[in-house]
């Protein structure tokens, strides 16, 4: 198993079926709508952090007084994302966020729910402000970006969680995989009652 972040990023990007990958047309749509995203930046960041801070479980992730720093990070991410080239360095940055999420205890369930929230806002605002054709193209492009980012962050979170255990204990990643294999059948069996028949 690979422990290099850039190699992991490339491997994960290669997992995405060709027709679901961001293409040149998608990048052009995003790049030409940077102003649209900038005009929505305040709405996005306010909605995002109002939601997180209104929920006790998600509020606990944040340190005292750091909301404005996180808001700036979100706006920077949106602007850099839609105005960017989507090269390997950009995607590696998303993979790196997975490691930061381990450190900050931002679990994947929160991350997925909030990415969906941002996507919902972006798409609904696009259909209000842009032509239906442009909004449709933007929706397609944005959802490709969002799902790629989700896949990189969530897999990176899972993967580097294992890497941290491996490096602390000396158990190599193949051994960890085998430890999981010897127990997974028991877990499936113990939870059979939840299977829909």
């Amino acid at each position: 198993m690979e422990t290099n972040l850039m190699a992991l990023t490339e491997k994960l990007l290669n997992h995405i079926p060709e027709n679901l990958r961001l293409n040149e047309d998608d990048i052009n749509v995003l790049n030409r709508n940077v102003d649209f995203f900038i005009s929505k930046a305040d709405a996005i960041k306010n909605d995002f952090y109002d939601t997180l801070f209104s929920n006790e479980a998600t509020r606990k992730v944040f340190h005292e007084g750091e909301r404005h720093i996180r808001e700036k990070s979100l706006v920077d991410w949106v602007v850099k994302t839609v105005g960017g080239k989507f090269d390997i360095n950009y995607w590696a940055w998303q993979t790196y966020v997975g490691i930061l999420h381990i450190k900050r205890k931002v679990s994947n369930d929160y991350m997925i729910i909030m990415m969906h929230r941002v996507s919902d806002l972006v798409i609904s605002e696009a259909f209000k402000d842009l032509s239906a054709e442009e909004a449709g193209k933007l929706k397609t492009a944005w959802l490709k970006v969002a799902s790629t980012v989700l896949s990189l962050i969530s897999e990176s979170y899972h993967y580097f969680y294992l890497v941290a255990i491996s490096q602390t204990t000396g158990l190599n990643l193949n051994l960890l995989d085998n430890l999981v294999r010897v127990e997974v059948d028991n877990l499936v069996e113990a939870n059979q009652k939840y299977r829909l028949t």
Binding site: T169, G170, L171, L175, N178, L179, R181, V182
Partner: protein, 116 residues
Amino acid sequence: MKNLTSILQELLTETESDAVILANSDGLPLEAINTTDDNRVAALTASLQSMTDRFVENFDRGEADQVIIEARDSYIIIKRVNENLQLMLLSGKNSKLGMLLLYLDNAISRINKVFA
């Protein structure tokens, strides 16, 4: 492998032990006698060896050649065979530890010849 089976069987007989397993560093069993769940025991054997190595390394004291666990009525000994293999022997508490280690060393030497 026939050679490995006979080496482990002889080790078991000579030491009057209860179970033995040869596992690789990824926790996969190469040969096992009397272990009820080979995959689990092999994975745990490799884990104990790896964690002990990391623990010893933490004190800058080289590698751990063996792990000896004294259970209420058993000894469990894990010995490194080579960089990629470890041998686990489960024996009753009435066994002489020195003899167990001697026979284990002999078995390890023979196993290494199989892979030479």
